[in-house]
Symmetry: C2
Subunit: 248 residues, 2 copies
């Protein structure tokens, strides 16, 4: 199995995403966060290794979170931190860590930028309930914060709000070696390059070679993607591949 | 925990999706299959309960598959059944079921519609390797089939090909009671309706009520979604909610 966290190799910092929301599973809402977080993590040098999408169910959230936070360096959750009865992420995270869920005065202060005291209704105060000991993550859009507790980062599901939370938490994250990649578009079915690619993969073990078919205008083509933390090896592998493609 | 499969309630048939592909985790490719499958399953009366995205790693595929196929009525996989060295879904599924992976004559026959014998290269013949005992799933686009083994449905990752495979396998699936839903757009933050919604949720336990904030043109609004397998209850809950919204 791939090594899952940095205890085995400090150059590799891993992460999982836990998307919480019945609306994604029913198909009503198309997730827009997984790809955004994936690109961001690749960019900063964190390796996204697993994604799970689960429903708004407390026991499921707790079980998934406890498994993922043990397996990976970081877990990013999205969804379920709003003011309504189906927003159960914060209490579930508190239970997963066995800490109390408390109305956090710092969170209330952040929300007071937007709301007068008499506007801080019971529903809105729910959004200031934070597991004890968590650091807050600022939200310049709707002001109710996300939070980070140990290696778990809890963010909103609304993409615009998630984006500012991800930016806010990024300076606090440990990162590993950056993964570089090059993509070569090859306008033929992948079966015609499969054998060459396998040979090259053996020749460049530090470079991971992927082949992704696409289907466009009735024709099958292939995107060849080479990835490595070693730029020199990556460039050598790319040159070798281009020579083979030209001779195919 | 939510009941996970039909052994507890024959009206509820559950499913998980296992997306296999490094390219989704690196962010290079935006998944287009989860939402498509989610909508299709909701439409036919199967409840999607979990989604996992994992990399092209054999042990990870085997472990995830064995957990999901034990937990849910069906598991749909996408990705990793092409002709290249990184396509390891079929051998991993065979290992998960402890059955041999064999060159399947029926699969070769399907591929011969497209390829002459001399075009059936070693790479292309890889796509005819099927776990022993599996049923084939036709693919009218590129002719290499998917397959179904027990409750696991193995499909291509290329969306156009996945779509025809999903259509081909659908008549073979058991389905449960269909889930109906109505969506009401409420142009105010969800905190202003949170309390009413909680009260209504208690009044209509058969109807699941979700509240999904959106952020558009600088304003927070809410989509209120009611879901139930009981149409009468769903309509009553909708009427009660509309009355409350008009009085808010």
């Amino acid at each position: 199995m791939n090594n899952k966290n940095s205890t085995e190799n400090p150059d590799i910092i891993t992460a999982a995403i836990l998307v919480i929301g019945d609306e994604i599973l029913s198909g009503r809402t198309k997730d827009a966060n997984i790809n955004y977080i994936a690109c961001h993590l690749t960019e900063i040098g964190i390796r996204l290794t697993e994604v799970r999408v689960i429903g708004d169910d407390g026991d499921t959230i707790i079980a998934s979170l406890n498994q993922l936070r043990a397996d990976y360096d970081y877990v990013f959750t999205t969804g379920g931190i709003g003011p309504t009865h189906d927003d159960i992420t914060a209490p579930s995270v508190a239970k997963a860590f066995s800490v109390p869920l408390v109305i956090d005065e710092r969170a209330l202060d952040m929300m007071k930028v937007r709301y007068r005291d008499d506007q801080l209704t019971e529903a809105r105060r729910r959004m200031a309930r934070i597991p004890e000991g968590a650091e807050l993550i600022e939200n310049q859009i709707s002001f109710a914060p996300g939070f980070m507790i140990e290696n778990v980062i809890v963010m909103a599901g609304v993409p615009a709000i998630m984006h500012v939370m991800l930016d806010a938490v990024t300076p606090k994250l440990r990162v590993g070696k950056k993964m570089y990649s090059v993509t070569i578009v090859y306008e033929h079915p992948e079966s015609t390059i499969a054998k060459d690619l396998e040979t090259l993969q053996k020749q460049f073990p530090e470079v991971s070679m992927g082949s992704y078919p696409y289907f466009k205008d009735g024709t099958l083509g292939t995107q060849l993607v080479l990835r490595s933390t070693n730029k020199t090896q990556l460039n050598s592998a790319k040159s070798a591949l281009v020579i083979r493609l030209n001779n195919t």
